[in-house]
Symmetry: C2
Subunit: 423 residues, 2 copies
């Protein structure tokens, strides 16, 4: 198995990882543009553009795009995040030329036809409505806003009903021209692929794009705060976050080990105390989520409204305990074993491998080998983990409660007080 | 890559598929017992038993179970369906002995300790509450009940608040003794595994189980009907189902091809008409779901309450059109290409491969090769697809609307009238 990177004359990077035992491959174009690069009046335009890429080009209708990829048994999909927009396909061996030609066409030649735009707006308004019917989605949107208020990284990727209605064909074209530039693009493939063949196809399809400098992002500033939302629900959701490391930060891997042992798997402290010993929740976990210049360490749990106070007591106690006493060597070793095994398991999937390579090139300007990742995980000590925990409990929390009745705000304030936060 | 099956003296089957390029493996025990085998007074006991398997054995506490598997970087999980209960692990090469010993212990020696049972009940009550906060989950539960009323296949797998509260240690033990018998068990592994080594471990861990005949399931009877549910939502969900084939039926593959072209991918009729041409929905799809003796062909879409009537018009029109005119050869060819490619893609994952082998042995008493599956997909003609569509529109529908305001019932009745159903 070999990995190769080639940079075209215009700056676009092509990376591939050959997995010769596979009969299929994953292939995509990652563009380093997402919701965090949007100005206030552009809120949601990256995601709208991603949708509109499937609605017709100079030579293909929306229907033709769908039919051509599905005729060869392929699947086409796309996703917009805070930092990236990705267009990707899963296809059979030998079909990379067909798939790349379609991907290149929808990324470079979309028409953004006004009638199609009207219809696609309605689709996105339904997508927004579906997130408003999920207490979890509401909670995460509020958490992001509490952590990064009045900033692009704190706004929902989908935009709002108002913002989605405000964009027209011209603005989509302008946004595309400005940001879909070759220096921001990575074509990544893993599976049944030959690097030379891939590069030739990419050169043919993307070689004509010209270099163009583009605006850099505004720096994210973590703030923290308290939010609450009430509706008639069976469960209340508690979300608690603290400032976490960026993926460039020294303590990125310490945060990963900490979240593993604190609220990762079944043997983690939160799972054992909250679910196994108290039966308070079906689902409780922590996670560490990182951007280029910021990050969040967060905890999410759902329980009955009447048990919310006990839940927040336990979460605060567990945070204080691990900050005061640290974690045992056995816990740290277990979290590291899980991280390393998870890494190996992920890399056996062509889709996860292609995505990881694209993210490394966009975020770090180089590929990071599994050996290096494993060495960095191995270098985390219980001392690092404890300092990370200490930093967290001393920092400003972001607190969200989404729940039933009118108690969500009281529950959120109650947790803020327990944490000794000046809110 | 080789596949092997061995049957132990007690009837338990062991199957493995070696994928020598992998560094990890997926390994699980599938037991042919699920919600559909439960009597009315046992409703939810399969799922409760699956949860209690993680709560301690004669020699391990709940915490020890979690710690032992996670110390080797493994992940343990379980799932209960209508027909099966599965306990599975994803682990690193060479760890199959450790993982199997843990799986065998929790499956054969769980204590069902009364105190642990009290706590785990609370966890499941929270799991039930979380499904009640999802309009989609509510919709699918009602659809199952409308399709198969007053039958075990029509009841939610989780049970009800009342039923979950009714079980004690003795009943769990009895259920385990009665149904966790070797003839109902398949150990399946795919990835970095050697069949002989696996069989030796399985023999050591499960060889002492004795044969015992166990009750067979009651036959499922498809009925159909109308259900509605109201709460304050942003979107209304429409679920429409008809009687579909069992996985033994002649037209199983015709149903798969039909659902692909009717509401499968982006090029399908429903996606093109409902989303691309009308912008009515973010999510619309159809699926064909099969048991040993019954099945459902279903359509699910979510939209605004004010657009529900247009949505149901379009769905009914599209169903009638495909029944009257059939599908083009190009559509059929495309759906077949997608099915076949999806099959190949799925088999590149060790987890999907292990599950498929276990399902084949439990459902068909033999493995079905990819070549045979592909040949059966290839054998589907546009004639088969049209007869399937005709049978559907002539049959009794199951209709569910979960939505806002008080209109859900009116919307559901409206769709029933459009379908000409005597409801």
């Amino acid at each position: 198995m070999t990995t190769n990177v080639t940079t075209l004359a215009n700056g676009l990077r092509v990376v591939s990882h050959a997995m010769p035992h596979l009969e299929t491959l994953s292939l995509g174009v990652w563009v380093a543009i997402g919701a965090r690069h949007e100005s206030e009046t552009e809120h949601g335009i990256s995601h709208l553009l991603e949708h509109m890429a499937f609605k017709g080009t100079a030579k293909r209708t929306a229907k033709a795009i769908a039919e051509e990829i599905e005729t060869i048994g392929g699947e086409l999909n796309a996703a917009t995040s805070l930092e990236n927009t990705a267009y990707f396909a899963r296809i059979l061996k030998g079909d990379e030329g067909v798939a790349l030609e379609i991907l290149a066409d929808i990324i470079q030649n979309s028409l953004f036809d006004p009638q199609e735009l009207e219809r696609e707006r309605e689709v996105i308004l339904q997508e927004i409505a579906s997130t408003r019917d999920s207490p979890e989605d509401i909670g995460y949107d509020l958490l992001q806003e509490a952590a990064f208020p009045d900033q692009s990284v704190g706004r929902p990727i989908l935009g709002t009903i108002q913002s989605v209605k405000s964009f027209d064909q011209q603005r989509l074209h302008d946004f595309l021209q400005r940001y879909y530039v070759p220096e921001r693009m990575v074509v990544s493939a893993a599976g049944a692929v030959h690097h030379d063949v891939l590069v030739r196809h990419v050169e043919a399809q993307f070689g004509a794009l010209t270099r163009k400098s583009s605006r850099v992002r505004e720096e994210a500033r973590y703030v923290g705060g308290v939010r609450a939302f009430n509706r008639r629900y069976e469960q209340s959701h508690l979300l608690l976050a603290f400032e976490g490391p960026s993926y460039h930060a020294e303590d990125f891997f310490a945060a990963q080990v900490f979240t593993g042992l604190f609220g990762g798997g079944m043997s983690s402290r939160l799972f054992q105390e909250v679910r196994e010993r108290r039966g308070l929740c079906y689902s409780i976990y922590s996670s560490a989520w990182s951007l280029a210049d910021a990050g969040l360490f967060s905890i999410h749990a759902a329980t009955g409204s009447d048990m919310m106070s006990e839940l927040s007591d336990v979460v605060v106690d567990e945070l204080r305990k691990v900050a005061a006493e640290g974690a045992s060597d056995a816990e740290v070793a277990r979290a590291k074993a899980q991280l390393k095994a998870g890494l190996l398991m992920g890399l056996e999937s062509s889709g996860a491998r292609a995505e990881q390579m694209a993210r490394h090139l966009i975020g770090h300007d180089r590929l990071i080998s599994s050996d290096e990742l494993i060495a960095r995980v191995d270098a985390v000590s219980s001392g690092h983990v404890q300092s990370f925990a200490r930093r967290i409990v001393a920092s400003a929390p972001s607190i969200v409660v989404v729940g039933s009745g009118r108690q969500s705000n009281a529950h959120a304030q109650d947790l803020a007080e327990k944490l000794g936060s000046r809110v």
